[in-house]
């Protein structure tokens, strides 16, 4: 185990619920993980499984109502963020902990010029003159490869392409050099060449500043190339955790296996024209009416009677490879 002083983030038993007209549901259910200095932890999982809500919970940005964090702790550099008052939290947000949001348009102010938004964010936390903050803003835009940063800084979000908006947000998130960066699908709107540049940039800054990174992404290629550890979520729960090597070599949870099997082939290999992609049949169950046992049971080829009745505990299958599945030991042989 790593030296405790190395821990940037320690999340324990986090629980976040939503109260909706169809009932109460647990969007994040008893999720724990840690991030060390300079480490990248990837979170993957089915759309709607609670990845973004987990991220928002860390920043205490879950909309309340209808949502609420009802349990657990989020310890950033020794302080439990869940015990802070709003003013203390504002001082930390965007400063020690920063987030790149999944949908850039929801977090950029549509009537404020891009450059000005970065200047505001910087001056909120750092003692800088307007001129210094402006120079920093342009420098950050240049770092994320926005052509002609000085001109773009004067533009409004709608004048940028989808990928440029995302890069502007990355620039804003990195401007204050946070201890922890949460990146929710940071490169989905980018083509692979820019994606490679941006990932290299984030990893460089991470090395230089020791920033811990929580990377939420659907792109398992990106996970394989950037993360050291991975957690897999399904229906609000952590169902697997492992080093990136162990997870890709031998996933223990049937959901993870299904996910890996759905990755489309790399184009260079000979794909038959319009081959059908593998998919995991069925849909995620309603979080309001989760089955008593394993939430994946209705879609799992390996399900046995016990799976329907009892929730499988997260067990260590050796070397810190955790999985919550009654049949994890057999997965490699059966599936």
């Amino acid at each position: 185990m790593a030296d405790m002083s190395d821990l940037v983030l320690d999340v324990k038993n986090l629980r976040t619920v939503f109260f909706t007209n169809s009932g109460l549901f647990k969007a994040v259910d008893d999720v724990s993980f840690t991030v060390r200095r300079g480490e990248t932890l990837a979170i993957v999982g089915e759309s709607g499984c609670g990845k973004s809500v987990t991220a928002l919970s860390l920043l205490r940005l879950v909309p309340d109502p209808p949502g609420r964090i009802v349990g657990g702790s989020v310890t950033l550099e020794g302080t439990d963020l869940l015990t802070l008052d709003d003013a203390e939290m504002r001082a930390i947000r965007g400063n020690r902990i920063s987030m790149i949001f999944q949908e850039p348009m929801t977090s950029l102010n549509p009537v404020m010029r891009i450059g000005h938004q970065i200047v505001e964010a910087v001056r909120l936390h750092r003692n800088m003159s307007a001129k210094e903050a402006h120079d920093l803003a342009i420098e950050m835009l240049r770092l994320v490869r926005i052509p002609e940063p000085a001109r773009r800084a004067r533009e409004y979000p709608h004048q940028l392409s989808g990928g440029m908006r995302q890069r502007a947000m990355i620039a804003m998130a990195l401007a204050c050099r946070p201890a922890l960066l949460i990146a929710d699908e940071p490169t989905t709107a980018l083509d692979v060449t820019i994606q490679a540049q941006i990932l290299a940039l984030i990893l460089d800054l991470q090395k230089e500043l020791g920033t811990g990174l929580v990377l939420i992404t659907h792109d398992l290629g990106v996970v394989a190339q950037t993360a050291q550890r991975v957690i897999v979520m399904y229906a609000g729960k952590k169902v697997e955790e492992a080093s990136v090597e162990a997870l890709f070599a031998a996933p223990k949870h049937p959901y993870t296996r299904g996910l890996m099997a759905s990755i489309p082939a790399v184009p260079a290999s000979d794909v038959a024209p319009q081959a059908r992609l593998n998919e995991i049949p069925g849909t995620v169950p309603s979080l309001v009416r989760l089955p008593a046992g394993c939430a994946f049971a209705p879609r799992c080829k390996l399900a046995i009677k016990r799976c329907q009745e009892e929730y499988p505990p997260l067990a260590d299958w050796g070397g810190g490879h955790l999985a919550a599945c009654w049949r994890a030991a057999e997965v490699a042989e059966v599936a």
């Binding site: 001109r151 489309p264 790399v266 260079a268 024209p273 992609l277 998919e279």
Partner: protein, 328 residues
């Protein structure tokens, strides 16, 4: 190729750049700068390229959601470039778009069910129970549960919102669906469901897709032909297999080499094209890629390569490929 559903000829879209208190025009963004292609019935054309190269602008122009500066758009042989709103209405039903940013394109005050059902109701195709059943079916097709019809957009995750947009686009069984990054917000298993669904619908109904995506593996799976754009122009276009096996343009080659591989032991991503993305306001002279091209020669700075046929319908705009084919 079979009969063309959509023909785009020399499409251009320029945006003015304004500055100063008087908002005087000081330059022009050449967002799309002379793009031509045709899309057959039942065909999928993949459109890939660097962020900001004009893919969304092409998509929106085709649907006349932005007014092209010049060029021509023909749908089933009819020139729709200059049709008025009223004249365009009969065509609206046959062209749909799935937008890149799902949140921005959904009305926050409507339930998901109403959003998907609206086009069906507006065109008077179904109402009451029949409408509800149709919407429920669409929800299932895109991997949402019918009980989610009552929820509002903000109650869905990013990927779920994208599926609402897809269901809405499918509602009218249009002839042409323009998909602008339709699956980039989805996890790989849902992505596989949606791609399989699009392919099935195409086989059943002969839909045509203009399919924009950054994920080249996805593009490879769904497309029949693929066009690669760089800075407002098509630099390479070919049959899918031909393009992926035998990429000729240096930009396409860099693109294919940058795909991250889902194997932690594979070579780490190293940015293959480096250097700053040039500005579409003052695009580089000659070949627009010369500022970043590994093979750039002196003449690339001054001569602009035309899109020429390099055989088997494989067109490429690069001076290195000159002489391997004939001018189009």
């Amino acid at each position: 190729m079979t009969e063309a559903l959509l023909e785009v000829t020399d499409l251009k879209k320029h945006y003015p750049v304004r500055a100063g208190v008087l908002r005087r025009q000081v330059g022009t963004v050449h967002a799309v700068d002379g793009v031509s292609f045709a899309l057959g019935i039942g065909e999928t054309l993949g459109l890939v390229g660097e962020s900001g190269c004009g893919k969304s602008t092409v998509a929106r122009s085709v649907l006349r959601l932005v007014e092209p500066t010049s060029g021509q758009i023909r749908l089933r042989g009819e020139d729709i470039t200059h049709l008025s709103k009223t004249e365009l209405r009969p065509h609206r039903r046959s062209m749909q778009i799935v937008f890149q940013d799902p949140f921005a394109s959904l009305n926050p005050r409507m339930t998901a069910g109403d959003i998907v059902g609206e086009p069906i109701a507006v065109h008077g195709l179904a109402s009451g129970k029949a409408l509800e059943a149709r919407v429920a079916k669409l929800f299932e097709q895109v991997g949402l549960r019918p009980d989610q019809m009552r929820n509002f957009p903000h109650q869905f995750s990013g990927g779920q919102r994208q599926r609402i947009c897809i269901a809405r686009a499918l509602a009218l069984e249009p002839r042409l669906i323009v998909c602008d990054e339709p699956v980039s917000a989805l996890d790989v298993s849902i992505q596989a469901q949606v791609i399989n669904l699009l392919i099935d619908l195409q086989r059943q109904h002969g839909f045509s897709y203009l399919f924009i995506a950054h994920d080249l593996a996805v593009v490879a799976h769904i497309s029949h032909r693929v066009a690669v754009m760089y800075l407002g122009r098509i630099v390479e276009i070919a049959d899918k297999d031909e393009l992926f096996r035998n990429p000729r343009h240096p930009y396409t080659q860099a693109l294919l080499a940058s795909v991250p591989i889902a194997n932690p032991h594979a070579k780490k991503i190293a940015p293959l094209v480096d250097g700053d993305v040039p500005s579409p306001v003052n695009p580089p002279s000659g070949c627009a890629f010369h500022t970043r091209c590994r093979f750039a020669m002196e003449r690339c700075k001054t001569e602009r390569p035309a899109l020429v046929d390099a055989g088997v319908g494989h067109q490429v705009a690069c001076l290195l490929n000159e002489g391997t084919g004939r001018s189009q």
